[in-house]
């Protein structure tokens, strides 16, 4: 019983994470943890941006100067 409710909880957790990630990526915000882990792993000499910097960086990449990524279809 406990095993299956644990399983159910895990499933719910991964489902809701998927929904949240999906919603964030819809407006151009990728996963900060994935980014930070990536920088720590592949560029140990660099400090990753803070979460706030990452947020602004993504906002700019979507709509900022010179970028057309935020443009929507009809």
């Amino acid at each position: 019983m406990t095993a299956s409710s644990q399983d159910l909880r895990d499933r719910w957790k991964s489902f809701s994470k998927c929904v949240c990630d999906g919603a964030r990526l819809m407006v151009g915000q990728g996963d900060y943890e994935v980014y930070a882990a990536h920088v720590r792993k592949t560029h140990p000499d660099q400090t990753p941006m803070t979460e706030r910097e990452f947020f602004r960086n993504r906002e700019n990449a979507r709509f900022g100067v010179g970028n057309r990524n935020g443009f929507r279809c009809c």
Binding site: G22, M26, F63, V65, F71
Partner: protein, 685 residues
Amino acid sequence: MEVIRKHGPWALVGALGAAALAIVATERGEAVNALWIVVAAICVYLIAYRYYSLFIAEKVMRLDPTRPTPAVRHNDGLDYVPTNRSVLFGHHFAAIAGAGPLVGPVLAAQMGYLPGLLWILAGVVFAGAVQDFIVLYVSMRRDGRSLGELIRAELGTIPGIIALIGTFLIMIILLAVLALIVVKALTGSPWGTFTVMATIPIALLMGVYSRYIRPGKIGEVSIIGFILLMLAIIYGGSVADHPTWGPAFTYTGTQLCWMLIGYGFVASILPVWLLLAPRDYLSTFLKIGTIIGLALGIAFVAPHMKMPAVTKFVDGTGPVWSGQLFPFLFITIACGAVSGFHSLISSGTTPKLIASEADARFIGYGGMLMESFVAVMALVSACVIDPGVYFTMNSPAALVGTTPETAAAAVTNLGFMVTPETIAEAAKDVGETTIISRAGGAPTLAVGMAHIISSAIGGKAMMAFWYHFAILFEALFILTAVDAGTRACRFMIQDLIGLAVPSFKQTTAWVPSILATALCVSAWGYFLYQGVTDPLGGINTLWPLFGISNQMLAAVALTLCTVVIFKMKRERYAFVTIVPTLWLCICTLTAGWQKIFSADPRIGFLSHADRYATALAEGKILAPAKTIDQMNQIVFNDRIDAVLAALFIGLVVAIAAFGILSCIRAFRADRWTALETDAAAVPAE
């Protein structure tokens, strides 16, 4: 046995779909339940996805799940990130679905639901989804490069420039037509105008909140924004009834037109975090939520289709837009069946985020099927309302007048019985003073949605709320598109002028930015103003131009795909892209030709111009013009539109010619000539 286990369930799906389609197509005299349409559509999508997209993936593309994608090769945690395919599906779908699939089918409903439905289904399976999928594949195999770069690399520099100019023209027309939809929905509607205007301070507040107070908390700020929006809708009704505030928010089309032009200019030079980004959250989440809500509403309410399967307007005499079923139906419904714009998205951020090549099928082909489903729901929404009300809302004022009595007489005369009381009642139900001549699709969709959702939640008392909710939701993402589009357009102009004057390219410098923005805004503003003052309602002129340009871009993208298939020496499968390319060329060229040269002034720009020019020569003034100046303006506008249509024709012909040449060259070559990035060249991290 194996065969039965593998294909048996799919055969059942196919049989169910065929049965549903048969019911939809053959039922006469009795209203069809909308659920049959939904079932037919879903079965078609499932079969197409299971078999046709698999065929394309295996035979045409030979997708290789072991081959590193750009996201794997260039993983930087930012632009290139291997992403879960469901998450990426959401991202891709949110980027491709906009106002198009909601408006086109509503306009097409004047011919009945059947022609539109069949084109949406056939179009998406054989053209739209194929285009999205193959462009995604082509871009994914080339480091996620953009459509313009791909065309330049595979077809040559000149076709690349032609495609760039084409994209620019489409943007201008798209922005004008989107803005026109907002104007049509808000003219003389204080409730709607108040709620839409309220989104600006709400977005500013959200912008400050997510910049300084709690950065990055998108969920939080969106919920705050959503609550404020709902309050704006609820109190919008009281504002509209207020003796001073009501009239203060009542505007004519021309006034709204100038406001939108001013808005577009200011909004696109403000910092992105202040207005654009926060409103993007609202419009994106509201859009997804509304689509889900509409789907649940249709499933739950199971409304009946009141519009006939086919109306007599297939002969081209319809009041909503002019022209016969072929070719005009096929350009009226672009998004939802096939939309060239998607090729820009499929070669944008999505290919940089794909984790495995095998995911491209679900995201590219599946994403477009999903958008097509939105189009089917829009068609259903337009067809569940009383056809008399539908034609009252979508006919130009020149035809139906401005009072319920004149409108009822005119629409009944068209063959759709409606009484003045029904019209007045319909307006009252949704909290508006009038619903006559609210062309542009959005208000009709809003009435349809209000009809469906209020049957599930709230009943008649909530109908006005749902109507204004639907108007707000459409206006919200249209304004986001106007803002983002003006920005994108401005960068394009700066790039183009930058070719001649390099200093103009600096996107951070004030003078070039403001100049380019002004240029862009005046370009779409010109067409918007022309649409607002158009005697036939504007949609009749601008929507076909938009459809032609959008399908033209699709033809360009599919030509690129065909060339790539030839270059990969897989020409025996090239029919997959050649057939839709040919069909789109036939449609856009015929429609473009008729828009220019048709002798019917309701269709042909030149004959319309001639009618006014002849009257001018005789010193007469034709309605709606009131002065000689306005007469001259109409003649001039018509000729500009004719030139634009001619440009689109030239573009299609030029790209097709370059495409054929490239295909012949690739066919004669004795080896693979496509320019894919070598999978082994950059080792995976």
